[in-house]
Amino acid sequence: MSLRIASSPHQRSQRSTAELMRLVCYCALPGFALQCWFFGWGSLLQFLIAAVVALGTEALILELRKKDFEKALSDCSALLTALLLAICLPPLTPWWITAIGAFFAIGIAKQLYGGLGSNLFNPAMVAYVTLLVSFPVAMTSWLPPQHLAEHPYNLVDALSVIFTGFTGEGYSLTQLRSDADGFTMATPLDAVKTDLSLGLTLEEATSKGQFNNGLGIGWFWINLAYLAGGLVLLKLRAIKWQIPVSMLGTILLVAGIMHLSAPDLFASPWFHLLSGGTMLGAFFIATDPVSASTTDRGRLLFGAGIGLLVVVIRTWGGYPDAIAFAVVLMNMAVPLIDYYTRPRTYGHQRQRGKP
């Protein structure tokens, strides 16, 4: 027996990376469950596909890099990426698109940059953006909420659509998306955007079936669920408050000003806050520690930047939702933000030109 030599500190708090990742997963579950409730089994299947591909890719690449993949897989980071990606995908996306996305997230956006901790961009968002850019039609084919749908589908249908493109009864995805009048049901964001571009006023745009008091049915509750999950994360100190607060605050502020200036042209801030992936983005995506800013002031800036970009892209951009683009764009700015928001170290006076 010999004495064990170790460097101080000898005592450690017990929270591990894997725990942190799992915690984030758990907190996202309520929202995910609601999403499944509103939009059917598809999302769950997407998650399974994404998880299998993500873990497989991670193992494969770690093996190629001659690293111990069992250990790396157990940290749950790939699982979290898969979950976030699945949440973002339309429920009945063809399986191979999901697979490409998951592969892209882990293989290109994460492992090519050096694996966990070294990736510049949020893997799930990179994958989502890639898919959105590559397959714009498939990626915006959201179903209407199940209770509004002409053809509600069950688990078998979902499987069948995802893997073959048609339900057992022969309905295609497009047919599933149609409402009673034969019009496809876009997401609220999409609908508002399209209608506004067609010259309709906001009021006219939001008077359609999938809207309820100006807010999208389903999306409202889903966002609330993610908000709740995010608050739990905050409470458990898994994430810090700066990013969500500054991001939501900026959305509220910018969208509010725009809405007040031209209520007919710009959606209300509540619509922005509670539709699309706003809450998910604020609490689960933008707060991804690896790709977010690491200083307190930096986080405020980072969140504000995302908020601003979200409103701008949603209003004037070419794609309906903007969380992914905003997050990826701000990821790019993180090193710069971090550099210029370094905290003042004890005993150092603030110098001009060198923060």
């Binding site: 027996m1 460097s7 101080s8 500190p9 005592q11 901790g117 905290p343 170290t345 004890y346 150092h348």
Partner: protein
Amino acid sequence: MQSLIDKIRQGRFFDFPGGVHPPGRKTLSNQDVIGKCTLPEHLYLTVKQHIGAPGQLQVKVGDEVLKGQALTRSTNPFALPVHAPTSGKVTAIAPHVSAHPSGLAELSVEITPDGRDKWIDLTPIPDYQQLPKTRIIEAICDAGIAGMGGAGFPTHIKVSPKKDVEFLVINGAECEPYITADDRLMREHAWQIRQGIDVLCHLLNPGHVLIAIEDNKPEAIQAMQVACQEKPDYIICPIPTKYPAGGEKQLIQVLTGREVPHGRLPIDVGIIMQNVGTCFAVADVIFTGKPLIQRVVTLTGEAMTKPCNVWALLGTPICHLLKHAGYEKAQQGVQRLIMGGPMMGFSLASEQIPVVKSTNCILAPTQQEMTLPEEEQACIRCSACADACPVNLLPQQMYWHSKAKELDKAQDYNLFDCIECGACAYVCPSQIPLVHYYRVAKAQIRQQEEEKQKADKARDRFEARKQRLEEEKAERELKHQQAAEARREAMHKQGDDPKSKVAAALARARKQQTSDETTAAPETADKVAAAIARAKARKAAVQQGDSAPSDTADTAAEDKQAKVAAAVARAKARKAATQQGHAAPSDTADTAAEDKQAKVAAAVARAKARKAAVQQGDAAPSDTADTAAEDKQAKEATASKSKTTKQVKPKDKVSTQVTAADTPVKPAPADDREEQKRQRVAAAIAKAKQQKAQKDRQQASSTADMPAEKVAQPLVEVDEQKKQRVAAAIAKAKARKAKLDMQSSADNQQDKTDE
């Protein structure tokens, strides 16, 4: 200003950023009064136990020392003495494993107690207020008091500041988990601590005295309040419990909201901080005269059956204390001992490490209470470390740069402001030993700076040397030029008198030879030869394996051969000399002066030298002893030359064995001429000998010498190593032999010459 002190009085403190709340676990050891420990078998007093220079040793092995007797003396302001913790005998002064994270051995005095525990005469100075301050400071210095909080900064320097002291802060925060040494000390000796504070106040004359105690030690706070009742300007400050509130800079920030500027000392913001333990020790010195020979050490951790605080003599090996506290290694699983607290302490490499002045805790945790460090995982930039950092650093950035060895960038992130409190590594979810990375990086940076300085110095020295050499060369050239000019002038004066030229040449030769002789005076020369032979032997031994000189017969034969060869060489040289007319080498032509005699002499000498060299080269393993023999022969020859010349003045060409040099001597008209010539010949011979010896050395081993004939017989059988050793011995002997031979065979040689 007033508002600040009001604020403090009201118990409203500032906060420092970050910090962590590790479980305190202080109740483990703070239940009982500070115990006494038995005398250990040996005490090991590390000579340097503080920051600064070691003191000068005052004792030697075998000395009897009394308790409290100084073992070292302070010789410079940063040196502190250490004292014998008990009476006994100095049994050793040698490196002993020290209380340092490296576990390196440092010079220590080992004392074997005699059990009497007899004090030396003590000189307390209770009337310190009447004495000059320097006297008190001297007493503190002589008592060897260094900061007892952990760093070990000499106290006497701290209490003699050059600036006004606004706050004297007494640090009883003890923010590290587990440690209760200061806690117990305050509870039990509050009065004496207060006396120590009085002394410090007398020295420092501070505006206010703040006694900072973390609010998780209510008993200690109460005890100190009672002790300080009659001193209204002593303010007890129960500060909020947060690690590392007890760090010097953090405590200053908590109490006053001030920050010590980077690279400065607390006194620069008008604050002096002393540990409560230091105050206690100061009181000890002043009122009882006892130097610092013991301190309170917390023995704790769940692997101890009786965790407690104990008065431990400095130098007590840890194992002795462990026994006292009932340490059970079986409970530990993986054994580990930590000196200091769980956050900043270091793990011990040996149980023999002694207690030093800054040892406040020995921690023996079980695996359940402190899990072993797991394998480090990838940093996910969660910045939990930055949130925990009490000095607002960005630990993860420093970690990236330290790990990538981008040391300048790490420094750019203020690496050197890190106080190594361990809060960052404590919270890291990826189990990264951040502090360790910083320590390594800091050490590397320091080393690099040191190396840089050394490189600069080396460059300077190299350039200075280059310059010097150039100057010397220039000087030499100048001298040569002058000499040449002088010669030319002389030549002008003497016209084309060939004799003068020859004379000059001879003079040069003589000069050279004499200088040769002076540098290689016979005795030294022998020594040198021996040394060189030794070295060669060593080298040969290394190279051995393929060379075959271990064969004795061969050696003998070769030896003979060498002799023969030498003889042949001589004969040839002689022949060459006699036939110089047609056999003169081409190169003699250019030196050929008008003077025939000189020409002859030169040619002969050169030819002989060359021949000898070549011959000896062929006769491969001829040896140094042989050389010596030849040398002797040559000397003999020259010595007997005058005789010979006298004897055989009208000599015929072939009849004698006289060395070749003699031949041209024959027609020499004058005695001094002869003398000169002799010298030249001797020089030539010496040169030849030298060349030969060199060649020999290159290819032959030293075994092939004359005495080898006798000794080398068993060499064939013995193993390689022995051979080598024998060879070396032989080589050494050879030189001696050669010397003897030189004398003994003188007659023989004489005969030969005469023959």
